[in-house]
């Protein structure tokens, strides 16, 4: 057996002890405040603590079953449906606009900096602040009562476009996604521009030499290179969408019509139903984890390979 040279423990400790010292407080904090508290929430969701008074009889998955089967007016299922509509519209909207803006700007433009700065500025504003103006823009009045964007539609003789925005019981959540799209398309654009600029110029030149049209060059050469960027953008926007809370609270307040799970948690806590709030939180966490965990694992593997 070949003798492996072992660094004596004391030397290793001297070399890495200080590193461990620097790192360990953060590790302990995250272990407690992320994983410890998640475990605590899961445990709480398995009890019958439905009032402010402490009681914690183990009831198994009852709270979860109740959410799907016995919630009044199917409130939880309703909030999941809202979340689905919101997420689809937000995701598609932000990705399409972000990609379009990046395409318009990627090869340089006059005043490129100005366009980029303006497209990205909503990112710097809080959802609470933008909610104030979007509530006004998405004024639900129509006809003589019209305000906000509906008034613009009237001015443009596009009265058929007038609509009640987020107050529509079926498609209100699609309107709720508009401010989110406004706020995050610029971010998607920034991701894509970085992606475009990472593609070597030689690839484009080679495509031109081979006689590819502009369309073919994008379709066959550029877009395939952007798949990782697209994936990142989808994951980031998708997980933000599932967590969306501030915007909805700010535009509509906590209302049934626009309720999503993250808001439902807050509403449930107001009634001190801790176990139920915990169960909703855990489902929300699972929804996010399903998206994020594979992505993180994939990224960490890719990094190790490189």
């Amino acid at each position: 057996m070949a003798k492996r040279r072992r660094v004596p423990l004391r030397n290793r400790l001297r070399r890495w002890g200080p590193g461990l010292l620097l790192l360990s407080p953060s590790m302990v904090l995250l272990a407690v405040f992320v994983y410890g508290l998640i475990a605590w929430t899961i445990r709480l969701s398995l009890t019958d603590r439905h009032t402010a008074i402490a009681s914690s009889n183990f009831v198994g998955a009852k709270n979860y079953v109740d959410l799907f089967a016995n919630d009044i007016n199917d409130r939880f299922v309703h909030s999941l449906k809202n979340l689905l509509v919101f997420t689809v519209v937000f995701l598609v909207g932000a990705l399409v606009l972000g990609l379009l803006w990046a395409l318009l700007l990627e090869r340089g433009a006059r005043a490129e900096g100005l366009f980029r700065t303006v497209y990205l500025f909503p990112m710097a504003v809080s959802f609470v602040a933008s909610g104030v103006v979007w509530r006004w823009l998405m004024n639900s009045g129509t006809g003589d009562q019209a305000g906000g964007i509906n008034l613009i539609f009237q001015g443009l003789h596009l009265r058929f476009l007038e609509n009640p925005w987020w107050t529509d019981p079926n498609w209100g959540m699609a309107a709720m996604a508009l401010p989110a799209i406004w706020q995050l398309s610029g971010y998607v654009m920034a991701l894509f521009i970085a992606g475009f600029r990472g593609i070597p110029q030689e690839l484009r030149e080679a495509a031109v030499v081979d006689g590819a049209s502009t369309y073919q060059m994008y379709r066959r050469v550029i877009f395939p290179q952007l798949t990782p960027t697209m994936l990142s953008a989808m994951i980031i926007i998708g997980h933000m969408s599932m967590k969306m809370f501030d915007l909805i609270m700010s535009v509509s307040g906590a209302q049934w019509i626009t309720e999503v799970p993250s808001v439902y948690v807050w509403q449930t806590l107001l009634t001190s139903d801790y176990a139920k709030a915990a169960a909703i939180s855990v489902i929300l966490l699972l929804l996010v984890a399903v998206v994020i965990v594979p992505y993180l694992v994939h990224t960490s593997r890719a990094e190790r390979r490189s």
């Binding site: 090869r107 970085a194 967590k243 993180l296």
Partner: protein, 300 residues
């Protein structure tokens, strides 16, 4: 506004910068294509700026002018009455939010640089797993920790309001700050520098303090901006852990604007006041701001 994943090269804000060298178009473009292109760019510019126009114009209108008609027009008479009203409502929380966001930005960045340095140099067994576990912390919906968190901060007796929020933002800011610094150090600090330190007999802590920290400024700018903006714009932690009397400005704005029949002029002025600090940061330090955004997207 929350996290996304990181591009090491973009971390210092480099890649998204407009390229100074002009790229020559590979294919010549027709005049029509250019007109369509700039037409679209300007159209989107107008659409994106529309909410800003509404905010500014409405905030200077008097109460009588706020009616349904003439919503989009300029004020007939400009008045700052709504700004005064909004400032009266938001002033105290405006100051408190600085007391929140500044310490959070500084403390988180220091923690992040220490962690990031160790993780960028020390490939201990299972380092990838540990790093992934750290990163997961920045993606979780905070509702999943909020119920016990509220209980804990009450039990250990941290003063409610700003002190509690500083603690919480610092803890949950660890993942993103660690990530930004790890990528920054992995790509910008040459191994030779560490080696030189080692030859001179400097230990890890000395190397960090004397060799690394001085060249970490770009990383600090990115994390400070990121954490300042996140803490300033946060509403979720604020609503769970504070109230209008001791909380940050987002809570105060929501109280001002969220009433049944809100004063729109004052709400809009309030929204502008609330957004001003982060917008100033964005305009003045834009490239580093974008660096933080890119850092949210973990990959290379």
């Amino acid at each position: 506004m929350s996290t996304s994943v990181i591009t090491p090269t973009a971390t210092a804000g480099g890649t998204v910068r407009p390229d100074r060298r002009r790229r020559r178009p590979v294919t010549p473009r027709s005049a029509t294509a250019q007109i369509v292109r700039y037409g679209l760019l300007i159209l989107f510019l107008v659409i994106v700026l529309m909410p800003a126009y509404v905010l500014i114009v409405t905030s200077f209108k008097s109460g009588r002018e706020i009616g349904v008609n003439g919503q989009w027009t300029l004020p007939k008479e400009w008045t700052t009455a709504s700004w005064v009203k909004a400032w009266t409502a938001l002033g105290p929380s405006f100051v408190r939010t600085f007391e929140l966001a500044v310490p959070v930005a500084v403390i988180s960045s220091l923690i992040g640089s220490a962690n990031g340095f160790v993780l960028s140099r020390w490939r201990f067994p299972g380092a990838d797993v540990v790093f992934t576990l750290i990163l997961f912390g920045m993606f979780i919906p905070y509702q999943a920790v909020m119920i016990p968190l509220r209980q804990i901060v009450t039990t250990i007796g941290i003063p409610p309001g700003i002190p509690t929020l500083v603690l919480v933002h610092c803890i949950y800011g660890i993942p993103i700050c660690t990530l930004i610094f790890r990528n920054y150090y992995a790509t910008t600090v040459p191994e030779e520098l560490i080696e030189a330190g080692r030859v001179d007999g400097a230990g890890l802590l000395r190397t960090f303090g004397w060799l690394i920290l001085p060249i970490s400024i770009p990383g600090f700018v990115v994390t400070i901006i990121w954490q300042f903006t996140s803490a300033w714009n946060d509403y979720l932690f604020a609503i769970f852990l504070s109230n209008t009397r001791n909380g940050p400005i987002t809570i105060a704005l929501n109280a001002l604007a969220g009433a049944q029949s809100p004063d729109y002029a004052a709400s809009m002025a309030g929204a502008l006041i609330t957004s001003l600090p982060t917008l100033v940061v964005y305009v003045v330090l834009g490239r580093w701001f974008i660096g933080g955004l890119m850092a949210g997207s973990v990959k290379s």
